[in-house]
Symmetry: C2
Subunit: 294 residues, 2 copies
Amino acid sequence: MIGVDWGTTSFRAFRIALDGTIRDRRAGMRGLVNVPDARFGDTLRDEIGPWLAAGENHVLLSGMIGSRQGWKEAPYLPCPAGAPQVAAALVEIEFDWAQVKLVPGLSATDEAGVAEVMRGEETQVFGVLEAMGGSGLACLPGTHSKWVRVEDSRITGFTTHMTGEAFGALRGHTILGRMMREGPSNGAPFDAGVRRSGDPGGLLHHIFGARALVLAGSLAETDAAAYLSGILVGHEVRAALAAQQGTVVHVIGVPDLTALYARAISANGGFPERHDGEAAARGLALIGERAAWN
Amino acid sequence: MIGVDWGTTSFRAFRIALDGTIRDRRAGMRGLVNVPDARFGDTLRDEIGPWLAAGENHVLLSGMIGSRQGWKEAPYLPCPAGAPQVAAALVEIEFDWAQVKLVPGLSATDEAGVAEVMRGEETQVFGVLEAMGGSGLACLPGTHSKWVRVEDSRITGFTTHMTGEAFGALRGHTILGRMMREGPSNGAPFDAGVRRSGDPGGLLHHIFGARALVLAGSLAETDAAAYLSGILVGHEVRAALAAQQGTVVHVIGVPDLTALYARAISANGGFPERHDGEAAARGLALIGERAAWN
């Protein structure tokens, strides 16, 4: 089968053997926003044409491609939901060269009854179910980080943190950005920001302090962005791990980002276990196995 | 005497009688950023010329006019400091038509040793010392909100929260702003945001929820900005009041803003007492009385 993790900005396709091993892969920036005139079918054919020609006929798509802004809307499936429930709710889409199905996103509500939705992350979490032993906590860092709870191989709930996007807005459009210069995103200043997030005063106080530290000469301009990032990630991790210290957290994503989150999770009493983006391929395979293909 | 609260964007001058009553006032947008070519002397003469002609000879300036970006830098005075200490540290400035002195800003460090500075707010706090009975907590909401601790008529410390500026960056430059339309800044949605700040999950989770509520139709687009504002102000107030419930908080500023903060303070177990911007005039009078004029 062919599995595609098709997001807002990126496109990653995998040719997957019956035993789940990845036989081939493609990745690029042909995410939703980079597909002109919503020509999703043509884009898909461009990308996976050779695999179709080689005889593949089952194509499973996950991610924002199943949103209202995507190819066709696949309604959210409410939690709790596991791979069998998701496989039973796939949405078929018209495509002349193969059978194509869309993975629906999941919906949930947090403790206060506020709605949560995700598209694509559920598939990545299914890809690490085995490593999780079917239960536990997963974290998918990014523009809108997700923390996903799993019990008995089903996703029972999740929460979103606007960490990545808030970081961009604060760096790009406040007084903080004006004193920042390019520098490494990892290391001691990030860790200092994570520690800072545990001090009294709250997030809105801590971020302002970044400026004071630079003005006082105790934080280099090239380290200020990493420090700000540490404060925000630290606040996210502290809130997400609240009362769950000692938990193993399965962190899924690109290595640069999972490395940072692993540091922040360790600093807050959690035990990080890192997984790369191939989790999406394993999740697509898991759902694809259970799908009703013609 | 003449007292001027001269900030980054605004200019407010008061002609003050010997008994402290305000005889006349001027206000406008001739703050630092709106004074071309740093012609501060000319601007001051334009604004208060008639009062000088009427015989006033003592002019006291507070605010960012005493910063490196202002007319002349008045070095920060470390906390604790009261009006007598500030009056003894005024910085004289060259001006042909009157004797002009600058109020220095104050510096402090928070519990974690991070530096804090302010310019102008100290003068406003001195203006409410009498109402405070010489001790207590003051809050000056704004782009960079200040929470100021006072003991024995001296400012002992303070913390800054980047609430107003963070609100602007989030509204203007994230996914949250794209679903917001102009609406009232007060009322039920603000209060709902304040309540939301007390839920589990943390600030970065709560702000993302604003979008979900709008998408679900349970928050109007015209109410979303007020709700976001309530979340941020709620987080600020909760952090600043932590372990100090039942405290009277003297809120100083423009009525629209102090009204909002008063609601958030009440909702978090504090007792707000509101003061308007005339606090600056009273503070300038208090310092001016103690200054060594020729």
